[in-house]
């Protein structure tokens, strides 16, 4: 693989606080692409994957510096350049997806992060958390200064949790099953339907309501496509 050519070390990546074994660059990029697709197609903001982001950025830095050492005009250089650009695109797109959802659902995202349990995984990276808080403060300050404080006394606040819509968890998503699942309960959509149970075979693809499979997306049992 091209990346192993470009990397001058043994091509492996260490993850500081990971319980997994050392990942190869290919595995890291595959993880990035999975996170990217899941985030792109999920209606709600998914768990933060800071480790993946940091490792990919380190990877890109390695690749860039190795590229400097390649002789100019060497045909390999343009292929490596393309590889770097592609990875950077996926990473940027992933982070943009997240930022868009953070902005769109900002009061809910902050509420969820503030009220999560100690051991629960983070919804937001520290940088995203700071950004979300700033976005909230910026918007609230603006609305107050321009309109709310000029309104009658009993109308000077707006509950942003009520005013800003929540993500629609009932939107439909396409997915591919990575790990076989049994007895998934599918809730009825209308009053004349009944709930039913479905098995998800490995490798099969489905169009299903996000709400039904949300825990499977975070566990990695299914991949949104």
């Amino acid at each position: 693989k091209t990346m192993s050519d470009v990397l001058s070390d043994d091509g492996s990546i260490n993850q500081d606080d990971s319980q997994e074994d050392v990942m190869t660059p290919a595995e890291l990029i595959a993880k990035l692409e999975e996170a990217w697709l899941n985030e792109k197609f999920s209606p709600e903001l998914l768990e933060s994957k800071s480790e993946v982001v940091e490792c990919v950025m380190e990877q890109l830095t390695h690749m860039e510096s190795n590229l400097q050492r390649v002789k100019k005009g060497d045909a390999k250089a343009s292929v490596h350049r393309m590889e770097i650009d592609r990875i950077r695109f996926v990473l940027s797109s992933y982070l943009r997806s997240r930022l868009q959802k953070i902005e769109k659902f900002f009061p809910h995202v902050l509420e969820k992060e503030k009220s999560r349990g100690e051991g629960d995984p983070s919804l937001l990276s520290p940088e995203e958390f700071a950004f979300a808080k700033e976005y909230y403060a910026n918007t609230e300050t603006y609305l107050k200064a321009v309109a709310l404080k000029r309104m009658p006394p009993n109308l000077q606040t707006v509950d942003l949790l009520k005013a800003v819509p929540e993500p629609c968890l009932d939107s439909f998503v396409f997915l591919r099953v990575k790990e076989r699942q049994e007895n998934i309960l599918v809730e009825p959509e209308t009053d004349d339907q009944r709930e039913y149970v479905v098995d998800l075979e490995e490798g099969s693809q489905h169009l299903i309501r996000y709400r039904t499979v949300a825990p499977l997306v975070s566990s990695g049992a299914v991949q949104l496509i």
């Binding site: 650009d85 950077r88 940027s92 603006y142």
Partner: protein, 294 residues
Amino acid sequence: MNVNKVNGFTFQSDANKNVFTAFCCYKPPFEASGAAARFHWFVLGGLPPSDVTEPRDQTRIFAANVSSSSDIFSPRNKKFNFAGLCLVSPGFTGMFCEKAVELIRELHRMSDGQLPAFNEDGLRQVLQEMEALYEQNQSDVNEAKTDGRSDLIPSIKLRHCCLLRNQRCITAYLYDRLLRIRALRWEYGSVLPANVRFQLSAEELQWFGRYKKSLSCFMRSLGGAEAGGEGLDITQDMKPPKSLYIQVRCLEDHGELEIDDGTVILLKKNSQHFLPRWKCEQLIRQGVLEHVVS
């Protein structure tokens, strides 16, 4: 069954004139003769009046509950029971919340995300209406308490509904504009073209400035503080890379551009260059360069 036609409204009352059924929806029906007043038909639930005859005789609100504005808009032929009408104030020339809805419509008309100029006047008018409604309510509430005038309660509730609606419309107007302004950062970069800046109010420009700062702080921090790097500019790489280099034509003089390998290109109007794609993206979006597809 009495049937009366008033300004396109058909309403019926039963033999006791207790329940009125109206066909049609929300609009000011008519002007009472002899008084510069308009009667507003609202959908009201609750107690029917016992002495409603000709609408123009009525000057007080009778119904007990005011339903939400969503009940007011009805498809044709859907009937609503209402128990009366109210004279809100003499000389009142329009519906409540009209100006607020106009603000919303102004934005709704530009559905492609364009930003019209900030409607300072419109905002001020809605806030003035809110102040007037509130003051009327304050005095009615006092009267209701001291003189036991419980018949004022429906109009108090009505004005409160209008106040909430105005608040909601104003916040929706302001917030939707912020969303459009946010999109400008992603479209044009941190420097807005003059003709776009012109459409923003001073406070909106402040919001934009804080948003920009917050975003660039975020981007710089990507990859972890320990990495000591410059982060990642995620406003670049908006499209998947298809080719490394692209042919561009310069649309205006833009001075010098340094590429990664140190070469300096002079961007003179109408000159054409074969440049790395990632260097050109933002300049293309800003209109400085044009991608030449041969």
